[in-house]
């Protein structure tokens, strides 16, 4: 591991000021960052420890939503009874992620910013445009079973690995960000992430030194919430496909649907086109098949991951059936 200097920030202002130092990086739970530092993939010269910043509260917002501090640990968020009763899909998504030990460390902000688990990103002997811009993508013609079928580019087909963010995407979460100087801005979670295009090393719209301070959940939407994860092991494995769904039924018809997919794209993948298709439909297999086909219309496999296109459609169908029955 490359040597680095270490500093513990005592407040947000100090943290964002320290992040201006060349080669500086924030560390919170550290479960992903340290893993990458051990392998020489992340090489910060200076670590700013933000794990003790006073950002670990979950508070009610005035409109009936929740403001989740960026330092709220995944285990605490999953254990919160307000989350378990009002946002059960988020609690399920959190509990589907990682192990108990890691959830006790991993934070809300860190989870959003975790890096891909593409094995070629992790192998410093292989080309990877995300790790070493311009070096190529070894996954395109490599073993790409876990890779993206939507939203990828010729430069990168890595997926985003978070479960939590998939549920938050379906819940229209807002990310609160503080910049050096103390200015706060808010962006929709969907806008936090950038498409890989020709610059897959740039993953978010965060500017240098900016710090995520909270995630804001709007009031819980009406309807049944489901988070379903399909993976190679029953526990402690990343998603091949996951579906987060809020389905609101009225008089036998779908009044509103919100859906997000995990494991298929470089970011948690919201599907507004099928939400429109489903609105007003009765919960029939034909309607679900049509919606699932539409969701994956632009999907493109790369060989080993071709199965994900069908698996995503079937998982969507299963979730929609469960939500409407």
């Amino acid at each position: 591991m490359q040597p680095f200097s270490y500093q513990r920030a005592s407040d947000v202002r100090q943290a964002v000021a320290a992040a201006a130092k060349p080669g500086a990086k924030f560390i919170a739970g550290g479960t992903n960052l340290l893993d990458l530092m051990k392998l020489g993939i992340e090489r910060p010269a200076h670590l700013v420890d933000i794990s003790r910043l006073p950002l670990a509260a979950i508070a009610e917002t005035s409109d009936g939503g929740l403001r989740i501090g960026a330092q709220v640990r995944n285990s605490d968020l999953a254990a919160d009874m307000r989350v378990r009763t009002r946002y059960p899909m988020l609690a399920r998504a959190l509990l589907a992620g990682a192990s108990a030990q890691i959830r006790n460390k991993a934070t809300t902000g860190g989870n959003l910013l975790q890096r891909t688990r593409c094995p070629y990103f992790y192998d410093i002997n292989m080309p990877c445009n995300k790790r070493t811009p311009g070096s190529g993508c070894a996954a395109l013609n490599g073993f790409n079973r876990i890779h993206a079928v939507l939203g990828a580019s010729e430069a990168c087909i890595a997926t985003h690995a978070s479960d939590m963010a998939v549920a938050m995407m379906a819940l229209d979460a807002i990310v609160e960000i503080v910049a050096d100087g103390g200015d706060t801005r808010r962006v929709a979670l969907d806008d936090l992430y950038q498409a890989p295009g020709t610059t897959p090393h740039i993953e978010t719209s965060l500017r240098v030194g900016e710090l995520i301070t909270a995630v804001i959940l709007p009031p819980a939407p009406p309807g049944v919430q489901i988070y379903r994860k399909v993976r190679d092991r029953a526990s402690y494995a990343f998603a091949l496909i996951s579906v987060a769904a809020v389905i609101d039924m009225s008089g036998g018809k779908i009044r509103g649907a919100r859906l997000a997919l995990g494991g298929v794209a470089p970011k948690p993948w919201r599907t507004p086109e099928i939400e429109r298709l489903l609105a007003g439909e009765r919960g029939t297999d034909v309607a679900f098949q049509k919606a699932a086909d539409a969701a994956m219309k632009n999907a493109r496999g790369h060989g080993h991951n071709d199965f994900k296109i069908d698996l995503a459609k079937r998982t969507l169908g299963r979730v929609l059936t469960e939500a409407t029955s």
């Binding site: 591991m1 040597p3 680095f4 200097s5 270490y6 513990r8 080669g23 560390i27 550290g30 479960t31 340290l34 893993d35 051990k38 010269a45 200076h46 670590l47 420890d49 794990s51 285990s75 999953a78 254990a79 009874m81 378990r84 009763t85 059960p88 609690a91 399920r92 509990l95 589907a96 990682a98 192990s99 108990a100 030990q101 890691i102 006790n104 460390k105 029953a234 526990s235 402690y236």
Partner: protein, 214 residues
């Protein structure tokens, strides 16, 4: 790393003992795998002072900030009960309790735990009286080679606290209720601890047995 003598004529264990004695007495830097003191890109020495509270004892150390909590325990303090398996948070052999919560000691920096209450497998027993989980692992033969066992037991201790606090798991049907401990709950909640000998059925039995008294 082996226990063969190195060029100083000392075995690794003797080196550890020497360095721990000096670290504990004088608060100096202990044995480290790094040959030279760490320097930042600008050439500054970057060692950082930290007080680790481990098993109710305070240790004042000056560490290269790269030192993981696991390496500090094993190399600086000779608390070798916590094991290094994968060093990437995948196997759980390094599990310790920090402020009562189970974490992977390999995936955190020692300097980030200044003042935290850390409990390792060495601190679970009450004197000569084994912790109920330790006794249950022996009774149910919850191990074979034993390498993962300290991590399994510390993890199980964390699990029992989490269940007591009403935390749900992915195996819990009704998220709005406090879950009851079952085999399925234990298997899900212990998925961060791998046992290559596959002592899993006996580990589950030991945890169920200990859950009443732990």
């Amino acid at each position: 790393m082996t226990d063969l003598p190195d060029e100083t004529g000392l075995t690794r264990r003797e080196l550890l003992e020497l360095s721990v004695a000096s670290a504990a007495l004088a608060g100096t830097r202990g044995w480290s795998a790094e040959a030279a003191p760490a320097r930042s890109a600008a050439g500054d020495a970057i060692e950082t002072a930290v007080t680790l509270r481990i098993n109710a004892t305070s240790y004042h150390l000056t560490l290269d900030p790269r030192t993981s909590l696991l390496d500090a325990l094993r190399h600086q303090l000779a608390l070798t009960g916590s094991k290094k398996g994968c060093d990437h948070g995948q196997c759980g052999a390094c599990t310790v309790l920090v402020n009562g919560r189970r974490i992977n000691a390999c995936l955190t920096l020692a300097v980030m735990h200044d003042g935290d209450e850390i409990t390792t497998i060495e601190g679970l027993a009450n004197g000569e009286a084994l912790h109920p989980l330790q006794a249950a692992f022996i009774k149910h033969d919850g191990f074979q080679c034993g390498y993962c066992t300290p991590g399994q037991i510390c993890s199980a201790a964390g699990l029992l606290s989490e269940v007591k606090a009403g935390w749900a798991s992915y195996a819990t049907d009704d998220l709005t209720k406090s879950p009851a401990l079952s085999g399925a709950e234990i298997r899900e909640r212990m998925s961060g601890n791998i046992c290559r000998c596959a002592a899993y059925p006996n580990i589950v039995a030991a945890i169920i047995d200990a859950s009443g008294e732990a």
